[in-house]
Amino acid sequence: MRRAARLATAIGLVLFTASTAHAAKGRLNVLTWEGYADPSFVKPFTEKTGCQVKATYVGSGDEFVAKMVGSGNIFDLVSPPNDIARRLVDAGAVEPVDLAKAPVTTKFFPVFQRPAWLEKDGKTWGVPYSFGIVRIVVDADKVKNPPASVAVLWSDAYKGKVSLWDDMETLYMAARYAGITNVYEMTDAELATTKQTLLKGKPLVKKYWFSAGELDTLYNSGEVVASNAWETTLVNAWKAGRNLVEIVPTEGRGGWSDSWMVAKGAGKNPCTYQWIEWVSSPEMQALGHAVTGFGYSHPGMIDKLDPTTRGYLKRLQMDDPAVLSKVSWWQPVKRRNVYLETWNQVKAAKKL
């Protein structure tokens, strides 16, 4: 759902045609999000290594699983988010990464060095790439003295002016607000509590947003004054000179992180680790940021940006390892279908 914005891409993917040149030397097939194999850093990669890169784009996280399980080793590399990655490991679609072949990863932010969601059986199964912290964003012109809590999204004062991300993250956020500690392994009772919490806030909700662009429009037109949001919403607002600010809630913030994972057997392809090393470098991650606006795993990335952009990322504390270590990074959710059903029940419920 995270990038449901790429609906058009998803529809385009119906026409998905797979290339089968996996074994051929000097070729790399990657299954990834749009922007993660941008020509700005793919072209110099091909020039330097001679590896041709063929990218297939996904429209939703599930497509990583759907296309990797039972696609017969078409792809060499995939870049799923932290709540999906474990599924590929458990399904046997990927192989452990040999971090010795990607030495640059030792320079990553500490939270992205062998994070929990990429560890299984004492092995590491992926290399973190981009990330984002889910922010509580309010329009400071209309929301005065907001509390340092996600409670602002449940405040009657903003009835009909609240938006929430149409994503599982909103469920995690409501669970944290309800005082649940392990939001990724909730019991039925805890899920019921979370559902009640979301239903209580539902009358305030104008719209569950599904793309960052849509949320930007909602803030721009004044239809919404508070929501959970990506960093790009804040940066776009600041660029336009609008007074959107972030509330750092005491309940904590959720975070997503995409990682490059090696398809089973693809470690033999000499291009595979060259790619991992390439896209993990500060220079290439800076080029990636220009396309996506996301955070990246190498701290050196920020220094490669122009001063204005660097200023925004510093204001967002995207360069502070201490801040990153406090984020509630998404973990694999075993009962994803029950979570989704709860979320759908909330959405389908009539306003109270």
């Binding site: 599930d62 699983v65 104008k206 429009t217």
Partner: protein, 306 residues
Amino acid sequence: MKTTAAARAPGTDLSSAGTDGRALARRRLVLWLAPPMLWFTAFMLVPYAIMFFYSLGSMDYVDFVPGFSPANYVKALTAEPYPDVLLKSTVNGLLTALLSSVVAFPLAMWMAFGLASPRRRALVSILVVLPWWASYLVKVYAWKTILGAEGVLNTALMAIGLVDEPLSVLLYNRFAVVLTLTYIFTPFAVLSIYAQLERIPRSLVEAARNLGATDGEIFRRIILPISVPGVLAGAVITFSLGFGDFVTPSLVGGPDDLMITNLVVNLLGVSMDRPLGSAIGVVVIAFSVLLLMAANAAERRTQVRF
């Protein structure tokens, strides 16, 4: 006698040639029908069978487990939120069909009876289909622009002083969803109703008038009854398109405007619950088949031959 025999002989020849001809025609028919039948089997029946197979199984974490359990159907028809959402989609589909027919009817009437020259009719027909040359998404976004807080409608209302602050009841609710769906799918209703009205012979209307019928009577007793199959055909199309839509509710709908296809997208795209998604798919298909059968029967019963 001779004449009869002579007459009969060529007749017999003809009939045997006729049998050969029919056999040939039948063979040709098979040849002609083979590609569409193959297409239908490969791209409709086989996928439906696969979907049905999936719908009877279950997921064990990342693995699909085949089975013969009706559990997914029980869930799709009884567990929260599936039946509610199915009902909501049905109501939205019905509203779309009803409103499209209401909007389309006067236009189709005017095209069939108000425009004398065939060239003008052709021109108006093109104008009716013209919006379909623009992307579907663009049209949905256009309605966002019209209905939004800073939209065309609110700006105009505020400019003429009818309201002091933007109306928020226009966008992000069921009204916006049904309005957008109606706008987008009305051309189908127009063309379908027009095709039916066009068949009404002028002489029928003139005869009625000569016999002293008023315009109202002509409409009520001739045009309206004859138009029913066209209205039904249009309503089936607009209902199906409205019922199955998922882009419009996510763009202009409010927090509770969730349609059944949104759920299927979620089930396949987020929770990877293919079996339940498939079961809902089968329910929807079964529902559509029943609807089409009912509409066909109704069309046959109301069709008028001239």
